[in-house]
């Protein structure tokens, strides 16, 4: 019979322990996990990139729903265990849920320390611990104002940098004289403080908080010296305390944390503990690497294998983009210790190695951290460095005969060298996975070894190991870059435009380190679209980054002439319009007049110089640009509906005209074509459009994500609505969501496939508040962009586009 394993806590430590257990003893336990948080397991050390906007929550999920299903783990969410009854071997939640166990794993983690000052319970005072805290910070950042972060340690500084990137003013209050004093010596702490100030973050050191003031919500923070800092948010990041109360109430041995032996057993042999709640040989840990080492031992003990945890030496990296900082071991000064220091003020580099008896005790690197892993290896191996002492500070590149090429540096590493600090994966393990498991890419390495699967800072190293082992068979492209001007993908760029508030193409190219001086014909039009779609009020449309069709508002043809398509709302025209079109065709000797697939009339073969005059005549007859040349809203095709058709159920023509009048003139990632059919016979062919409506007796069936071009694809049903206004609002919200998320040149059906049909249904059909906000954003943008580009150019805008600089006549025949 399978034994029952109950796990209290759904964090990184217990998740990792279960992974190891399912590998070493599959099927042995029937597992139940109690999670206080209402979500699946995620990578807590990557909350900072989520806060700063550099990652999304989905990207940091470690165990999706499917994982729990696959291993038949019962996940009980949002339930806190209040009692462990060791005699009856059961646990019980606050709501009275009872679960029996054969083995119990306590992984209750830690709780943030809230310093006991007056006002600490005011709304607006929060900790930085889980996704809810991140959500609270994001909500506060949206309103702007000032945030005070109490605590200049690892977590506090990551929170400060994230809030700053989200647009808040930020002050960091720190008790000690320099930042991160537990991981950094004063010199490196000083450099870090300078970097924070350079980013516009105020830093107050030697500062003790006296009180937090506010009437119903935090308004100010007061320091012991009487200084008052007005603020709208206080984040406490002063440290963590092992969460051991439950274990204590069960009568287990508890000091600072739950006491465990080298096999991770508590004072009750059927109860194990793992993670930040644990105290092992007098030590409590708050970093991820020790937790993972403990998790391995937990799995071994649970499957009756021999394993011992003997404590961890830890190293630290700050996860703030652009700050290179590494520290490991012990670097306090003492009489029997020596130190080697290297400084380069111009480059902001500081390195210090602390030695005792020719062995490395600790290392601090700032500004240049590529040798962090090398020093950390020497430290853990307790290697004698006497022979290399003189050049040690210059790191591996010097020691190994200056391999400037990073691949050569990786090649020189021994198999025992640690590549992934978070998961303790050495080079040999990755090479073995590549050989034995047939791994050929980064995802494979992550799946089999966990290297690069946590904080990701070793991704480059892992790729080099792959390249070395596989040779030419390895292609490093983990993301598809936008173009050769950058390594960033469209997704990265769109996100960073928002997060870093990039509002012009030159600013973007500088901040995102474009590799070409002015971009290329692939990235520039994309960036211009992203700018005006993201910042309709602030970013200026850069016409030099537009393809010729969107500069001259007509379609270039193979012979350099243009085609002109006037707008016919919903495909409806009049005798007067047709007469005007005929007159224009005669007057300008336009060779071809053709009906398009979108129910419009196309005038083909117009000379560029004639365009403004052609438009002037069409404008005079009441017609505007049909945007047939645009990555924008093109046409709404309709059938005649209840006006004429004996089968018509609604006014499909009228709805088509209304949709087109609401949406025309907006720019989109790629062209958008729509249709409205008056009955399910679907004469307007609405079920292969980007957005389509099928009218029924009961109302309107809304469709999206169809295609009838390079690909053929029927639409998906978005939802059914009762009124015409709802149909229009849903269509607008869909268009705006696509405008905000789509990659340039990505049609709606491809975007929908990428983000998921259900996600789009949820955002448009189910989330009424979100839908309303989308509609508002669209209507706001339309106020700025819904103008007839033809009329503007008839009035003289961009006149240089339409005339030669100079015309020099040919020689007289007499010559």
């Amino acid at each position: 019979m399978t034994e029952k394993l109950v796990v209290i806590g759904n964090g990184m430590a217990s998740g990792r322990a279960l992974e190891h257990l399912f590998e070493s003893a599959p099927g042995r336990y029937q597992v139940t996990v109690f999670s206080a948080e209402p979500r699946v397991n995620y990578n807590r050390i990557l909350l900072s990139p989520v806060l700063s906007g550099e990652k999304t929550f989905d990207e940091i999920v470690t165990h999706p729903e499917a994982w729990y299903d696959q291993h038949e783990v019962t996940l009980v969410r949002g339930q806190t265990i209040t009692t462990i009854d060791r005699t009856r071997k059961i646990v019980e939640t606050a709501d009275g849920v009872v679960a029996p166990y054969d083995k119990l794993l306590i992984a209750t983690g830690s709780s943030p320390i809230m310093i006991p000052v007056p006002g600490k319970d005011l709304p607006g005072v929060i900790a930085y611990r889980d996704l809810d805290d991140v959500d609270r910070m994001l909500a506060a950042a949206e309103k702007g104002g000032r945030a005070v972060v109490i605590g200049g340690g690892l977590l506090g500084l990551e929170a400060a940098a994230g809030l700053k990137m989200r647009g808040m003013d930020v002050t960091v209050i720190h008790l000690a004289a320099t930042l991160m004093e537990r991981q950094l010596d004063p010199a490196a702490g000083y450099l870090l403080e300078q970097e924070m100030r350079r980013r516009g973050i105020d830093v107050v050191t030697r500062a003790n908080t006296k009180a937090i003031h506010g009437d119903g919500h935090v308004q100010a923070l007061e320091l012991e010296d009487g200084t008052r800092i007005d603020c709208d948010l206080v984040v406490m990041a002063v440290g963590i305390r092992p969460h051991a109360a439950l274990a204590k109430s069960a009568g287990l041995d508890v000091n600072r944390g739950v006491v465990v032996d080298d096999r991770m057993l508590t004072s009750d042999p059927d109860i194990l503990a793992v993670g930040e709640c644990v105290e092992h040989r007098g030590q409590c840990y708050g970093l991820v690497a020790p937790l993972y080492e403990m998790a391995k031992v937990v799995a071994a003990t649970l499957s009756n294998a021999e394993a011992e945890y003997t404590g961890s030496v830890t190293s630290t990296k700050l996860k703030v983009t652009g700050v290179d900082l590494f520290s490991a071991g012990d670097f306090a000064e003492a009489k029997d210790r020596e130190e080697i220091v290297f400084r380069d003020a111009a480059r902001g580099v500081y390195k210090r190695i602390v030695l005792k008896d020719n062995k490395i005790l600790g290392a601090v690197l700032y500004g240049e951290t590529s040798d962090g892993g090398y020093f950390f290896d020497l430290l853990r191996q307790e290697a004698d460095v006497a022979a290399d002492r003189d050049t040690l500070i210059f790191g591996r590149s010097f020691a190994g005969g200056a391999p400037l090429d990073p691949t050569a540096a990786v090649a020189a590493l021994p198999d025992s060298a640690e590549i992934c600090g978070c998961n303790g994966v050495c080079k040999g393990a990755i090479v073995e996975a590549i050989g034995a498991k047939g791994v050929t890419d980064l995802d494979g390495v992550r799946a089999h070894t966990k290297a690069s699967a946590s904080c990701g800072s070793c991704t480059g190293l892992v790729e080099q190991v792959l390249a070395l082992t596989l040779g030419d068979a390895f292609e490093a492209k983990a993301v598809t870059p936008m173009c050769t001007c950058t390594d960033l993908s469209h997704a990265d760029v769109r996100r960073l435009i928002v997060v870093r508030r990039l509002k012009s193409i030159p600013a973007l190219m500088q901040e995102l380190e474009w590799k070409s001086s002015c971009g290329c014909a692939r990235c520039r039009p994309a960036l211009n679209y992203y700018m005006i779609a993201t910042w309709p009020d602030e970013a200026a449309d850069d016409y030099r980054s537009r393809f010729v069709n969107e500069r001259v508002h007509a379609n270039i043809q193979k012979d350099g002439t243009y085609s002109v398509v006037p707008r016919m709302w919903g495909g409806v025209t009049t005798a007067a319009e047709l007469r005007a079109i005929a007159d224009v065709a005669d007057k300008f000797a336009i060779p071809t007049v053709k009906v398009t697939g979108g129910q419009r009339i196309d005038l083909l073969g117009v000379r560029k110089e004639d365009l403004p005059a052609v438009w002037a005549d069409l404008n005079d007859a009441g017609m505007v640009s049909g945007h047939a040349y645009a990555k924008g809203v093109r046409t709404v095709k309709t059938c005649v509906g209840t006006d004429w058709c004996r089968f018509g159920t609604q006014d499909s023509t009228g709805l088509g005209v209304k949709l087109e009048k609401a949406m025309w003139g907006s720019w989109t990632p790629a062209k958008v074509k729509m249709a409205v059919s008056g009955c399910p016979r679907n004469c307007a062919e609405a079920t292969c459009k980007d957005f389509g409506v099928i009218c029924t007796d009961a109302g309107y069936e809304l469709h999206f994500a169809g295609a009838a071009g390079l690909d053929i694809k029927g639409t998906e049903v978005l939802c059914r609505v009762k009124t015409e206004q709802e149909a229009i609002d849903h269509g607008i919200a869909l268009l705006q969501l696509y405008r905000e998320q789509g990659f340039y040149l990505e049609r709606i059906y491809k975007w929908a496939k990428r983000v998921g049909m259900d996600e789009i249904r949820r955002r448009i059909a189910e989330d009424e508040t979100g839908r309303t906000a989308l509609v508002e954003r669209f209507l706001h943008s339309q106020k700025l962009f819904q103008t007839d580009p033809w009329a503007e150019r008839v009035a003289g805008h961009d006149a240089h586009e339409f005339a030669p600089l100079v015309t020099i006549p040919a020689m007289e025949a007499a010559e």
């Binding site: 520039r524 030099r544 537009r546 393809f547 600089l805 006549p809 040919a810 020689m811």
Partner: protein, 117 residues
């Protein structure tokens, strides 16, 4: 073989061309594309892509290159050479900008003679 005789001919001012943009000069039977880069360098080449004759003056200008609007060939404005895997070359024409911003080209004698007219 001698190059055809040319005359330096004023065709306008540098500010007639938008930065990172182009204008077209129609000179008898020829069409010439004049480019102004982001660094205010001026280049002139035939307004005809070596691929399928696309009007290069309508392309997006990036650095010292233009991308043809018809099929995205990239042409080096300095040398007239097609970039990347594409092979082809466009004729380049010498350009001059004087201290007052006047812009001139070396045009064949037969065409330049008509400028004053």
């Amino acid at each position: 073989m001698n190059a055809p005789a040319t005359i330096r001919t004023t065709i306008g001012r540098i500010d007639d061309i938008p930065r990172e943009g182009a204008r077209m000069v129609r000179a008898g039977p020829m069409e010439i594309a004049i480019f102004r880069t982001v660094a205010d360098e001026i280049y002139a080449i035939d307004n005809r892509c070596p691929h399928r004759g696309g009007p290069l003056s309508e392309g997006i200008v990036h650095g010292g290159f233009v991308t043809c609007p018809l099929h995205n060939w990239v042409i080096d404005l300095k040398t007239g050479l097609a970039q990347g895997a594409d092979e082809g070359c466009v004729r380049t024409i010498a350009t001059y900008v004087d201290a007052d911003g006047r812009l001139s080209l070396d045009l064949p004698v037969s065409i330049a003679a008509n400028v004053a007219a």
